[in-house]
Symmetry: C2
């Protein structure tokens, strides 16, 4: 895992590498001896940058929408599910500095961590390169979600989305199978495989069966080409 | 009432005067025959610009504050009371295009209208002149509120603020007197005078006695030099 690889993925080169490192540092990575800062202040800033860029885009591109409608669209575009979905698309989870405990309990695929780190990176680009660079990054990574949202098609329920896709062909059969349950009762991790006509097309982990199934469905949609993995 | 006068007050000259007119147009001014648009879409955009500018200021100037603290500070700085107070300071109410009905029921001093129009002007400056011009305007008009908030001194309860100020001198006596009640029972407007030792030092109108008293106290604070009227 190297920070310069993520610069290729996000298509932005930081003048100040310490800001990038700050943006990628989850609170679980910090211990008392460490001089590192976690990414929460950058997340605070990035959240506001994101809100402005999306608001401006909607203002410019949805002339016929009233303020109330735009507020609803914006909320959907910047919600945790939307950001986590976009962050998954470029495997942001792989680049986050996090504690072993967090990692072992599925931290790299946890929606809240993905969404918050995505916002921290936005904040970091804003500080390092200004609003225009942040706008480019946001519109590149969230354009599909924005367009889907404007068309009323942004769906975060991957199981439903997969079901709808599968139903287009008759006699398709999907099945979610629990492969393993790890950890103590109060902190279990479920691993689930998704089978389409008996063939594994995705798998997912999560702290509940429901969450693991959603992740498996999401990976299944990537496999089927319905979600684009950039 | 001319739009060019407000340009002096806000210290920004619009390249596109129609955006300024749009920002100053309350929904009550619009009728079916009018081709004008109300300012709600600009308010939507301005709200996001304001949030970013304040977030960035806090990020840069409060190095020792955690994300949760900054979120609370920001919420206080951008709340309706704070924006209405700042908007009152430059008499924004006088420049708003509003319907007669709204005007006759105290619309020009209504906090929600003042705050929303303030945000609409921020949105208009952002569209017309970009983020830097919007930042200049926001920091000029909200700097006192931001600094007071950071110091934990931002107070919107003007009656309490006045009381605290008055108590510094012994044998001061303040009194709120209802001068008139206008309009039907369900839509009354109260006019109240504030007396300090029997002398009128402020007056205020509102849809409740409480609201009218707050406005009177606010004007009393201006009279006493405790709130600055720019």
């Amino acid at each position: 895992m190297k920070d310069d690889k993520i610069e290729i993925v996000i298509d932005y080169h930081f003048k100040d590498q310490s800001i990038l490192k700050n943006a990628l540092t989850h609170s679980s990575f910090i211990n008392d001896k460490s001089k590192l800062k976690n990414n929460e202040r950058l997340e605070f800033l990035g959240d506001a940058v994101l809100e402005l860029v999306v608001s401006h885009y909607l203002y410019e591109n949805c002339n016929n929408r009233a303020e109330g409608e735009m507020t609803k669209l914006r909320a959907k575009i910047v919600c945790t599910d939307s950001l986590a979905m976009a962050a998954s698309d470029f495997q942001l989870g792989n680049y986050i500095y996090m504690g072993k405990g967090e990692e072992n309990t599925g931290g790299r695929t946890r929606k809240s961590i993905l969404a918050n780190t995505f916002e921290a990176i936005i904040g970091a680009i804003f500080i390092d390169g200004g609003l225009e660079e942040a706008r480019k990054f946001i519109l590149c990574k969230l354009k599909n979600n924005i367009d889907d949202s404007v068309k009323g098609k942004l769906v975060f329920d991957y199981k439903t989305k997969l079901q709808e896709h599968i139903q287009q062909k008759a006699d398709n059969d999907i099945d979610y199978v629990v492969i393993s349950e790890e950890g103590p009762e109060h902190d279990k991790i479920f691993n689930i495989q998704l089978l389409l006509n008996g063939k594994v097309i995705g798998s997912g982990a999560g702290s509940s069966k429901k969450e693991a199934e959603q992740h498996a469905a999401y990976n299944g949609l990537i496999f089927l080409g319905e979600v684009h993995e950039k």
